[in-house]
Amino acid sequence: MADLIQTFSETPMFGLVLTLTAYAVGQKIYIKLPVSFFHPVLTASALIILFLFFFDISLDDYQNGGRMISFMLGPATVSLALPLYKKIDILKSHFLIILTAITVGTITSIISVTLISKTLNLPSELTLSLIPKSVTTPIAVETAEKIGGLPSITALSVIFTGITGAVTGPALLKLFRIKSPTAKGLALGTASHAIGTSRALELGQTEGAISSLSIGLAGIITAIAAPILVRILF
């Protein structure tokens, strides 16, 4: 059995099959146990890491197939233009409010990450990995690469950020008496991308629509603002 897996692991099919299987299992677990921490991506990644460790398979062998999957992130980012385009009427109706709120949120995110990281004496490559963490993974990863962060740390931080936003979001909105559906959607989408947006959708349709609009916009604003702010702050 172990021999068979060793041989299989040397073909690109291995990384592909393992990732798809782990993701399917992750989704099954999430349906049974809908707790934020059991996000399918986290479960799937943990299962894959355990599998590689258990059967002593190298990361390179896994990435032969894994690379094909992460390659899709490029066209997936370009595809984010479509949901953005579909919500363009909402953007036009509150253009300044939406743009200002997301920009303030983005700058707050970058500055607060830098300040707390410096206080904790984090190595700068980790701080730079954390800076784009509030936006959708493909944009966050590309931005991190551009400013000198580590993509894998960024990808993991993006998920934890999403979970934090989705779990604490509704209570925070209540605490600060943020009642308008527009403001709620903006806050959830800007701070915690798609994971926050699925939470926003549970609050209401307007919340969900504004939140999904915020994903793309916060991504674009972060991609522009992060390199500039990093030059000032570092």
Binding site: V41, G66, A76, V78, S79, K133, P151, L188, T190
Partner: protein
């Protein structure tokens, strides 16, 4: 247009974005440039929604799957992670909260000001 054509169209725009982003002065990463090009093409009606919707929906619905291999790479950062893992969480949690509150309060304030202005204008009319 067939599904294959939709994938081709998205791939072409992605490639264009990546190529344009190699110009050193541009602030955007390649795929974000591609996303902006796609948005402009949609807004100017050069590309229509139905010419990319199926391929685009495919990419959007499987987005979480695509970054699993990236996270698996974390095994090569074991040392950093075991040393700083907890600190990373200490940064992530409060900064997510500040971002959420800052965005929400800014929106709340701006919506309130717009509302007030509109009411004033309304009174003026009456």
């Amino acid at each position: 247009m067939g599904v294959l054509g939709e994938f081709l169209l998205i791939s072409l725009v992605t490639t264009a974005g990546v190529l344009i982003a190699t110009i050193p002065l541009l602030p955007f990463p390649g795929t974000v440039t591609g996303m902006l090009i796609m948005l402009i093409l949609l807004l100017t009606n050069i590309i229509k929604v139905k010419q990319i919707s199926r391929a685009s929906d495919f990419f959007s619905s499987f987005l979480p799957l695509f970054f699993i291999p990236l996270i698996v790479n974390i095994t090569s950062e074991q040392e950093l992670l075991s040393r700083y893992g907890i600190k990373l969480l200490i940064v992530i949690i409060p900064t997510t909260i500040t971002t959420l509150i800052a965005t929400g309060l800014t929106a709340k304030l701006l919506l309130y000001l717009t509302e007030k202005k509109r009411n004033k204008a309304g009174e003026g009319d009456g």
